[in-house]
């Protein structure tokens, strides 16, 4: 398909661009296959706005006389308004944008056309390979092995080709376990706690059904992770009620009788459309221009967004607590094991493992626990807060995870190597990007799309010093300890950096950030100078003494 067919009017002049907190700008609007480009004609203050079509969540059009207005609502939550003179132009442009922002074929997406303007130092597609992860693990324990059972994605379509499983369980047993778990997602290693050798595993629900089916291999597999005489916890991310209802559809949960060494805890984390609706309501509240304080708080409350944050964080803290404090191993699952399960396992690692609080470590966490673990990004992030499609599979699961990370970052502002901008950047790229990283729903789809060959990885771009410096937290001091966040309502806040980003003036906050950076930079410079002088002085003094001795 040619994009040109979709672009009826490639260019319009005398267009006015309106954004909150900026004066309206007049300029020229251009449409290309993947971008909407607005450039002001003013000589003194040339300005360009590039917007990916895939970033557009919804568009509205309005007419007053012959002046048409298009309101574009983006997945990154920004809203812009374009006034386009001429009804026909406006209609053409609106319909083109609509068509281009809802292309149904992945291979037509921008990442397949994007050519990087920077030198690729490190291929991000190869930056975080399971083998490297396993190598790290084997330096601490030999109780685990790398299994290639899923090489052709033949056992579990949403798992990566290689997974880490207990050494004592062979591939044959794994196959049987896969049959017993929803979507074949058998229990695999998610995290190994070096401090006490406890582990966190994740899977999907067991297919016990109404008649309480059991699977000896499944029991053996998860028991293989326990130390003699020790017990473990199964954290089910559904309420007991929901888990019980799941049995009617063939799903279910681990029965105590068959798993006597495990204690099951239900921690309800909401899913799918409930989350999507929560996001829609929250963003609606944030964009509400009314002057009433009460309405703001009740709308914030009614959105339930912070309730979800609290639930997710609580479950993650609980998992971390079981591992670090109770000295117990943990298995986490919900229904499919691709959403709330991953929120819990990845957040628990941020709490427990200082490595995950570095930039590199966090990237690796996103790759392991989200991309390779089969979180269906393409489905979940198809639309954002302005969606009106109401598709069941759309849900801000990853955004909630990032928000939770931000909450922890806010409580431990010196313990993370990355800053808030890094999290916001990941949010943007998960929803619309020039990079292929978040395309597809799992490794199997990515491999079929040949993404590593045909697109650029986000990590190739981020992990260059030019970009990295924007995402570094100036306050970072490596902290090797477990960090326990507070989940009290007083401690949780709205993530303004995302939700109020486009409707609050950020100038003063940015200035504060700059000031912070310059304070620390100046300190470091002085430190370097002092050290240099000390060395110089020491040298001179030795010279001096030698002369004296002569």
């Amino acid at each position: 398909m040619e994009f040109a067919e979709l672009i009826k009017t490639p260019r319009a002049d005398n267009v006015a661009l309106h954004r909150p907190f900026y004066p309206a700008v007049e300029g020229t609007l251009c449409l290309t296959g993947h971008h909407l480009i607005f450039s002001s004609r003013r000589q003194d203050n040339a300005e360009e706005l590039w917007l990916l079509h895939s970033n557009i969540d919804s568009i509205e059009k309005r007419f007053v006389g012959s002046l048409g207005t298009i309101i574009i609502k983006c997945k990154d939550l920004r809203i812009i308004q374009l006034d386009i003179p001429g009804m026909e132009e406006c209609l053409n442009i609106a319909s083109s944008i609509e068509a281009l922002s809802t292309l149904d074929s992945v291979t037509l997406m921008y990442p397949f056309f994007y050519r990087p303007m920077f030198e690729v130092v490190e291929d991000g597609w190869r930056s975080f390979l399971p083998d490297q992860e396993f190598e790290l693990l084997s330096s601490a324990t030999d109780e685990w092995r790398l299994s290639c059972i899923n090489k052709e994605f033949s056992v579990c379509p949403s798992y990566p080709p290689v997974v880490i499983v207990p050494k004592s369980i062979d591939d044959e047993a794994l196959r049987k376990v896969a049959m017993f778990r929803h979507g074949s997602r058998f229990p695999v290693l998610s995290y190994y706690h070096k401090k006490n050798g406890m582990v966190m595993m994740r899977s999907s629900q067991p297919l016990t059904g109404t008649n309480g089916k059991r699977c000896k291999e499944d029991e053996k597999l998860i028991n293989a992770t326990l130390r003699p005489g020790k017990r473990g916890y199964i954290i089910d991310t559904r309420s007991l009620n929901v888990a019980q209802q799941a049995r009617a559809k063939g799903g279910g949960f681990e029965q105590e009788v068959h798993y006597p060494q495990w204690r099951r805890i239900h921690k309800c984390i909401e899913r799918f459309n409930i989350l999507q609706e929560s996001l829609i309501k929250l963003v609606e509240a944030c964009n509400d221009q009314s002057h009433n304080m009460d309405r703001w708080l009740s709308k914030l409350e009614a959105s339930n967004w912070l309730t979800h944050i609290k639930e997710i964080l609580t479950a993650a803290c609980l998992a971390a607590q079981c591992i670090d404090r109770e000295g117990a191993s943990v298995l986490v699952h919900g229904t499919e094991g691709t959403d709330s399960t991953l929120q819990v396992t990845s957040l628990a690692q941020i709490i427990l493992d200082p490595r995950c609080r570095t930039i590199r470590g966090f990237e690796s966490l996103v790759v392991r626990e989200w991309l390779q673990a089969g979180h269906p990004f393409q489905q979940r992030c198809a639309q954002s807060a302005y969606s009106n499609s109401k598709q069941k599979w759309e849900a801000p699961v990853f955004l909630l995870f990032l928000d939770c990370v931000w909450q922890i970052l806010r409580q431990f502002p010196c313990s993370f190597e990355f800053n808030e901008q890094f999290l916001i950047m990941l949010f943007e790229h998960a929803y619309a990007s020039q990079f292929g990283t978040f395309l597809g729903n799992n490794e199997s789809e990515r491999s079929k799309l040949k993404l590593p060959q045909k697109t650029m990885s986000l990590w190739s771009w981020v992990n260059r010093s030019e970009e990295l410096c924007k995402f570094q937290n100036p306050l970072f001091e490596a902290n090797s300890l477990v960090i326990w966040p507070s989940v009290a309502p007083q401690s949780l806040q709205l993530w303004e950096g995302v939700f109020l980003r486009w409707n609050r003036p950020s100038k003063f906050l940015d200035e504060a950030q700059e000031e912070m950076i310059s304070i620390i930079k100046y300190n470091k410079e002085l430190q370097a100078k002092v050290n240099a002088l000390r060395r110089q002085l020491a040298e001179l003094e030795t010279d001096d003494r030698m002369q004296e001795n002569l």
Partner: protein, 651 residues
């Protein structure tokens, strides 16, 4: 009383056993056992309510709520003891004479001269001079020198030059409690001013020629503007109701060239109830997110804060942008008027955003103009209906501004919290009584110490590391976002959940940056020394001139002082399910948040409510072993715990 248990509000499982002492000024709880014994000190004057709850099998619970938002839950084994303590505290927390208050016995070991110097730190005459008055338009009037015209006003009052004593007296007779219009802030750049007064006694039709002349004189003192804003900070309904009682508001028809404006800030009773409701939310045990947000909304607290801010912003804009003078009043002109005038001054003048300037501001708009500290903050036993968090709201407005303008204030959050603490503590004489007249009669300055001197001495603790005098945010008028940004107003957990350390960020950016800045300063000094030595050395080598100078090795070990800033950090109760599971984990006992929630000294090693204690404890021998040294650096109380949980920010 021994074997008293101190309960932790956040986690029901945790209780510490210790001994409770009552002294003439404090309630002291000393924890048993642990080597560095933890102590909780509470001033009697901080106690706002004591509640004896139903006796249980374990003992008799006693709940003490403090005015600085600390809540202490004790369980006393014997019902008799509990009752005795209850009765004693009720008496001790409600002194009837000023002489019973702590400031009359508090002695920070300063000599007479130092005390006098302390009181001179904030000088309002200097402050009016700084603003640029007296000048061609404004003069100082001595009409109130014996408090003859208005007993709640200061002796020195600034009024327009054209106003005679006759007009002042006439106008004062037409105003509630004779609080006639007087200057609060003068803007040198454009001659616009903020004046304050109480409501006029206009009833439905009364007029007063002198009052009309007074307003006209205020308008004419600003030649650049042809009208005057009169801002009534009450809701219109309240003002209209007042007319029936012979009070009310200015009739635009009777006064020449005024623009009259209502700004609906609720009265002290509404505010008191609102705070009460918000504190109930803060006290909820493990509330859900909805409970919390719903309760916060229901309390209306943030709505009230916003109303005060909006009034301040309106006035600041009128003065700075329109160059129009404003007369502000409410009913008596000592609560809402004080709030609004001080918020507006703070927005207008960068000086008030400095440590010193902020003290001056409170002295000017609150202390000197007769804000009724004694009644509002219940220092002496009095009418509970007079109590209201008026200045607390002002302090919160400042905090909300600090959140929006992180570089604009020289001081930090701790400064505000400590001021709030001392408004209630009665440890210093500044906020005693209801007016300047009463303070003079009591000879406060001769018998007590000034808080400002104390804060000034410790000002390093109160600095905002992001503040730079030459920063663009620092200079000029602050223009906060008006509506629609309701979301800019946030719950201040640093104040209202001040003693629940577990709820706050575990690492403080402010403290970290302060430590970095301190280190930077040391580095600068060292750099200088090194350069000097290097130059000397090079010179001596050049001359081959061997002097056996014993150079002291002055290079000192530099370390970020944050390293002793260990931060309490243990998991909360994330699940009730865990409890029932028999755990063999030896660390079970440390499960709960071990942050020392109730001690008042976490925040402020230099605060004298602690250090002062050493003078007070004559009757309590056990404590002397660990008498906190005045102003010294107590190690953070959080440190005594499992090193694994403490988050060290090692350099």
């Amino acid at each position: 009383v021994e074997n008293v248990r101190l309960l932790d509000r956040l986690s029901s499982r945790k209780a510490t056993l210790g001994t409770l002492y009552l002294t003439a000024t404090h309630v002291i709880f000393v924890e048993n056992g642990s080597e560095a014994r933890k102590e909780t000190w509470v001033l009697h004057s901080q106690i706002s309510s004591i509640e004896k709850q139903a006796t249980t099998a374990t003992g008799c619970p006693l709940l003490i709520r403090c005015k600085n938002f600390q809540v202490i839950q004790l369980v006393i084994p014997q019902e008799r003891d509990c009752h005795d303590i209850y009765i004693s505290l009720i008496r001790l927390a409600r002194p009837v004479k000023y002489e019973e208050l702590y400031c009359f016995s508090f002695n920070p070991k300063l000599d007479k001269e130092e005390r006098e110097q302390g009181w001179k730190l904030v000088n309002l005459t200097e402050e009016y001079n700084r603003m640029g008055v007296p000048n061609n338009y404004w003069q100082i009037s001595d009409v109130n020198r014996d408090y003859g015209v208005c007993d709640s006003y200061p002796t020195e009052v600034y009024v327009p030059r054209s106003v005679t004593a006759h007009i002042i007296v006439g106008s004062s007779k037409f105003r509630s409690r004779r609080r006639f219009p007087a200057l609060s802030y003068y803007c040198k750049d454009n001659n616009a001013s903020i004046c304050r007064s109480s409501q006029p006694l206009s009833g439905f039709s009364a007029r007063c020629l002198e009052d009309e002349q007074m307003l006209q004189a205020i308008r004419k003192a600003n030649p650049g503007s042809d009208f005057l804003y009169v801002v009534d900070t009450r809701p219109k309904l309240n003002a209209m109701a007042n007319r029936a009682a012979g009070k009310g508001y200015e009739n635009e028809d009777n006064y020449s060239n005024i623009k009259f404006q209502f700004i609906g800030i609720e009265n002290i009773h509404v505010m008191r109830n609102s705070l009460q409701k918000m504190l109930e939310v803060c006290e909820l045990k493990s509330p859900s997110m909805s409970d919390f947000l719903w309760g916060l909304e229901n309390s209306g607290w943030l709505k009230h804060i916003k109303a005060i801010m909006d009034a301040g912003i309106f006035i600041a804009k009128a003065v700075a942008e329109e160059g129009v003078s404003v007369l502000v009043h409410c009913s008596d002109g000592w609560d809402r008027t004080a709030q609004v005038c001080s918020v507006a001054s703070l927005l207008l003048d960068p000086y008030y955003r400095t440590v010193k300037g902020f003290m001056v501001l409170i002295e000017k708009d609150w202390v000197s103009f007769g804000h009724k500290f004694n009644h509002r903050y219940g220092n002496l036993d009095g009418d509970p209906k007079e109590i209201s968090p008026v200045i607390d709201q002002f302090l919160e407005c400042v905090w909300q501004l600090m959140e929006q303008f992180p570089c604009a204030f020289e001081f930090n959050e701790r400064f505000l919290i400590h001021i709030q603490h001392h408004i209630y503590s009665c440890q210093f004489g500044n906020f005693l009584c209801n007016s300047q007249k009463e303070r003079r009669e009591l000879k406060i300055q001769e018998r007590t110490y000034s808080l400002w001197a104390h804060l000034w001495k410790n000002r390093v603790d109160y600095l905002n590391p992001l503040y730079r005098a030459d920063h663009s945010q620092t200079r000029g008028t602050l223009c906060p976002q008006m509506a629609p940004c309701n979301f800019l107003y946030k719950f201040w957990s640093g104040m209202y959940n001040r003693f629940e350390k577990g709820l706050h960020p575990r690492q403080s950016v402010t403290d970290y940056l302060m430590a970095v800045k301190e280190e930077t300063q040391q580095l600068e000094e060292e750099l200088e020394v090194l350069r000097e030595r290097l130059a000397n050395l090079q010179k001596s080598q050049l001359n081959d001139y061997k002097v056996k100078s014993k150079q002291q090795d002055r290079s000192k070990q530099l370390g970020l002082s944050t390293s002793d800033n260990s931060l309490a950090n243990t998991p909360q109760e994330y699940s009730n399910d865990l409890k029932s599971f028999p755990s063999r984990s030896p660390s079970q006992g440390d499960e709960e948040d071990s942050a020392l929630i109730l001690t008042q000294d976490n925040l402020k090693s230099s605060d004298p409510d602690l250090s002062a204690a050493s003078d007070q404890e004559s009757g309590v021998e056990d404590l002397s072993c660990r008498s906190p040294s005045g102003g010294g650096c107590l190690p953070s109380e959080d440190s005594g715990k499992d090193s694994d949980e403490a988050v060290f920010l090692a350099a």
